[in-house]
């Protein structure tokens, strides 16, 4: 952006603050029909995003497997990643801490969490989707070096955590196809919010 354009923009920004009438009657009611009617179809503010720009930060990996990165990793490879990068905080077998417990099943895959406090939630007893392991570890782990693992390493450590939770066999390999296909023990436990205000406490 040229210097001239920049200062012009600064002036306009200030002007728009100065002219916006305070809306006293209605919280957040600025998009009232009368105002919107004067709006152009587009303000022509902002830049078109290129597909490269999008790809650079489009990192989510949901249960549908859409956008899953290429790569793969085995349980054995995952054990190596886990032992060197994760066990210091999550324990030698994923149960010892000091941070979140990652491993643990409950007999008959019961779901006693609402009945009483105390049962630790783990990936094996609580998480509804296996893709969340990749999505989350890829974003945020290891805590002190987030984003430092390769896609292969994240697939591998996901495979290993699933193996420790007795959800996949020791020869499992996780990739863009196999990870979304894993069915988690708690998948059917999740229900949509049914609270809706009114007299009934839910």
């Amino acid at each position: 952006m040229t210097r001239r354009r920049q200062s012009l923009l600064a002036v306009m920004t200030l002007a728009s603050f100065g002219c916006t009438p305070p809306d006293m009657s209605n919280q957040g009611g600025v998009a009232a029909a009368s105002v919107a009617a004067e709006w152009p179809a587009s303000f022509s503010i902002g830049q078109n995003a290129s597909s490269a720009q999008i790809a650079a930060i489009n990192i989510d990996f949901g249960p549908d497997g859409e956008g899953a990165p290429l790569g793969s990793g085995s349980v054995a490879e995952g054990r190596a990643v886990y032992d060197t990068r994760c066990s210091v905080c999550h324990g030698a077998t994923g149960t010892e801490g000091p941070n979140d417990r990652l491993v643990g099943r409950i007999p008959d895959d019961a779901f006693p969490f609402g009945e009483a406090r105390g049962t630790r939630r783990t990936i094996g007893n609580y998480w509804p989707y296996a893709t969340t392991i990749f999505d989350y570890v890829n974003r945020a782990m290891p805590m002190t070096a987030p984003g430092s693992l390769t896609a292969n390493e994240v697939y591998a450590v996901a495979a290993y955590i699933l193996f420790l939770n007795e959800i996949v066999p020791e020869n499992a390999v996780m990739n863009a196809q196999t990870l979304p296909a894993v069915v988690m023990p708690a998948q059917n436990r999740f229900v949509r919010d049914n609270r809706e205000g009114g007299a009934e406490v839910r």
């Binding site: 920004t13 916006t20 930060i57 609402g114 893709t131 999740f190 919010d193 205000g197 839910r202």
Partner: protein
């Protein structure tokens, strides 16, 4: 602070010159207030020239509220000192903090918000772009959905203050661009039902937000109480979802992806889901139900005297306006309506007050909020019956405060319970 600092002196001189005084007079004046200074209370302030103007204001020396925190080395949250504040607005530097991987340092000149997915035109918006769009301001609360966990127990600790129980609640005037304005600009597909909101912190925090909310009253906020959003609240820009749980109001927002299904991120599966007694877990429980708490008198105060005291507190609902707050001083046998401070705003903290003549007997004080949907804040047993004693998040039961005959106040209904 006996000696006037060089900096203060220069400031004084500048101010007086600007005020039209001759330089010689100004110079003479600056030597006068040897003992004056903002830190020293004067026996008779009318007999000594006061402190000069300054570029940045300071709190009175004796008024230094602080956020309430545990061990800073491990704490991922700090709490608003509710019992030390008045009115409804939280000073920005006392807004509660909850973050999952620290507060990122983001260069505002390099900041961009990307909106893509099921849209006609994927676009990025710089901070200047966001500020150039038609703006809006609204006063609203932000509350962590884990707030109040310390109260969700039949034998909760009693030496707890309102901030230790409910301090993950703050109220600000948020200024920004309506998210609907941005979605209009990129041409949101009518088939899109969810938006993945993602932050630019080291947790790359991500939450799926229903499009319905995004088009209703969601905002990309860059202003907080008249100034730029503080780093801990999402500088340079965050998602504000009036009345919804704090975690979904993604701070440091860098990306919004329109889609037709939720992404099932860790914070909407492993965390921020509410296990129920029937063996299910409630997911996308985003709205904060009506809630209230007394903020005075409460632990750690001790009423020094019997007689007239004003019971004060806050009520709020994520579903709209608070329509009434009832107060009991006899453990729930009789309830009377508290006075609500005008103007009651939707999805905003509301200040309530009730004047009370304490006779010196032990008393059990409670507040009970009702919102415009007719929802009444439940007591602990009602909430536990509805959700189960083990549930997590959305702990909005009535908060009991017990005044003992010596004036000390404790949390919880029973002595030694």
């Amino acid at each position: 602070m006996g000696k006037i600092s060089r900096r203060t002196m220069l400031g004084a001189t500048g101010g007086l010159i600007a005020g039209g005084l001759l330089k010689t007079q100004a110079d003479a004046l600056t030597v006068a207030p040897e003992t004056a200074g903002p830190q020293v209370a004067q026996a008779d302030p009318t007999k000594i020239l006061g402190a000069p103007t300054s570029q940045l204001g300071e709190r009175a020396p004796g008024e230094q509220p602080r956020r309430v925190m545990g061990n800073p080395a491990v704490a991922a949250s700090s709490r608003t000192p509710l019992e030390q504040l008045r009115g409804i607005i939280t000073p920005a530097d006392l807004h509660f903090e909850r973050h999952h991987a620290g507060v990122p340092a983001i260069d505002p000149d390099r900041y961009e918000l990307l909106i893509h997915g099921m849209v006609d035109r994927p676009m990025t918006f710089s901070l200047a772009d966001l500020k150039r769009f038609p703006a809006e301001s609204r006063i609203g609360f932000v509350e962590c959905s884990g707030n109040g966990g310390a109260a969700y127990s039949r034998n909760a600790a009693q030496d707890r203050s309102p901030s230790q129980i409910d301090g993950l609640l703050s109220t600000s005037e948020w200024t920004g661009v309506a998210l609907s304005t941005l979605l209009r600009e990129v041409g949101l597909s009518s088939d899109a039902t969810w938006l993945l909101a993602e932050g630019g912190d080291a947790a790359v925090m991500s939450r799926s937000i229903p499009v319905e909310k995004a088009l209703d009253d969601a905002m990309i906020a860059y202003g907080q109480n008249g100034e730029a959003i503080r780093p801990a609240q999402g500088y340079p820009a965050r998602l504000h979802l009036p009345g919804w749980e704090g975690n979904a109001q993604v701070k440091w927002i860098r990306r919004l992806e329109a889609s037709d299904r939720p992404s099932m991120t860790r914070e909407e599966t492993s965390k921020y889901t509410d296990p129920l007694a029937d063996g299910t877990a409630r997911q996308f429980s985003l709205v904060m139900d009506a809630k209230s708490t007394i903020t005075f008198p409460t632990f750690p105060y001790q009423l020094p005297d019997t007689g007239w005291w004003e019971i004060r507190g806050l009520a709020w609902s994520g579903r709209g306006r608070i329509t009434r707050v009832d107060i009991t001083t006899d453990g729930g046998n009789t309830w009377v309506p508290a006075q609500l401070q005008d103007t009651v705003l939707s999805k905003c903290a509301t200040r309530f007050r009730h004047i009370w003549n304490w006779d010196g007997d032990p008393a059990l004080l409670m507040s009970r909020a009702t919102d415009e949907t007719g929802y009444v804040q439940p007591d602990l047993e009602t909430l536990m019956a509805a959700r189960g004693p083990g549930t997590s998040y959305h702990y909005n039961s009535i908060r009991p405060w017990r005044v003992e005959s010596d004036g000390r106040v404790f949390f919880g209904p029973r002595d030694g319970a």
